[in-house]
Subunit: 237 residues, 2 copies
């Protein structure tokens, strides 16, 4: 729907939006989106699982979307409706994304020496008191190693996360066991690097594979994919 409306939201937070022309999208799964002409993020919304209702109040259309847990309500009141469309969506609803953290894990399980020579993976998602460890294994001297994977450049939070896992594991292993921690990520910020150093953790610069296939080959360091010569022509206006 498109038209002049006001939008009121109340739930986890609350907001109010004055009159203006906006696009309201109502999905059959209970999603509601209010979009203006800027930003990727809707100016107001309701997550899937909400219930949409429409009613006419004082001669105006009001669309209300409500959900529970948490209790939230979105009200869109229209002065004037410019357009309404019912669109029959078909086909795939999700995509497989290549270049995820999972792809990075596969890359490492295929070539453990990418972490370091002699590294031997033993488990993925190994449970600890602090949560599951991405890759758990042993180094060339048999010491336990916790590997935390990130698909992109990381900040202090990732260093903290790895530190928590290492500490949790050290606590659950026999007293005195030295547990090493390795952060595998394309790069780290300065502050994250300092934190890693403080905690005695290390960083291995490594990116997810550039494409879904070919676990070997370069990480997506700088240059773009050379192939994909698909239609080299540029589009008109």
């Amino acid at each position: 729907m498109f038209g002049r409306c006001t939008v009121e939201y109340d739930g986890r937070a609350a907001s109010s939006l004055g009159a203006g022309n906006r696009l309201l999208i109502l999905k059959p799964d209970g999603t509601a989106l209010v979009h203006t002409d800027e930003q990727r993020t809707p100016v107001n919304w309701q997550p899937p699982g909400s219930e949409h209702r429409a009613a006419v109040r004082d001669g105006r259309l009001r669309v209300r979307s409500v959900r529970e847990n948490p209790d939230e309500r979105l009200d869109v009141r229209f002065d004037r409706v410019e357009q309404v469309s019912a669109l029959p969506v078909t086909g795939g609803r999700s995509v497989d994304v290549y270049g995820s953290e999972e792809d990075l894990r596969h890359r490492i399980l295929d070539e453990p020496e990418l972490v370091e020579p002699g590294f031997e993976p033993a488990a993925t998602e190994r449970a600890t008191a602090a949560g599951p460890v991405d890759v758990f294994g042993h180094d060339d001297e048999g010491r336990p190693v916790v590997v935390e994977l990130k698909r992109r450049r990381v900040g202090p939070d990732a260093a903290g996360q790895l530190g928590r896992y290492v500490e949790a594991l050290a606590r659950e292993l026999p007293d005195g066991t030295e547990v090493r921690g390795v952060l595998v990520a394309p790069s780290v910020t300065d502050r994250a690097g300092e934190l890693l150093a403080e905690k005695g953790l290390s960083h291995v610069p490594l990116s997810p594979p550039a494409s879904s296939t070919t676990p070997s080959g370069d990480g997506r360091g700088s240059t773009t994919a050379p192939e994909r010569s698909t239609d080299a022509d540029d589009g008109a206006d």
Copy 2:
């Protein structure tokens, strides 16, 4: 636009979506959104700042959206276009949200005793080597206190964040200065609670103000009508 299309994305990651009817939204700020009939998150997109182009290739419409830094490209190829609309958006594009972390900060600056009796705020966003501290102050015995605010229930990450601030501040103050850390949030998870205990940090259960009605002197310019007598009528179907 709505029609049968395929979608290819390549950039920070990569994805491919087979043919189907979807909604494509192109915004003048360079945003592109591809929505199916499920989920709040678009199945594919391009962030603001991208450049949209359209061209006909092999008798089919292709919409391409490209941006740089990072290099990313989204291609939507249409078999068939069911509908095209140009919608004149007007009016407000953003909302003031009530119940944010900022509101929680105002609440505490107005009533510091909510943190603890005798607490005296000294600064907000105080800079440390680990980043800015939400609220910095002193307790009834003059000890420095770091207050970290969260608008909702928090997990282990928030405990780690507060821990980093406390440690950074302890390092920059004279040797031996005891720095206290207080996490102000509606509630904490079990694991976060354990982490806080380990680090000698404490938790004060407190939420952002329920309504926009900031209790006395709001720092925010405007305030909406506080009551909002919710129209008691329920909508028809």
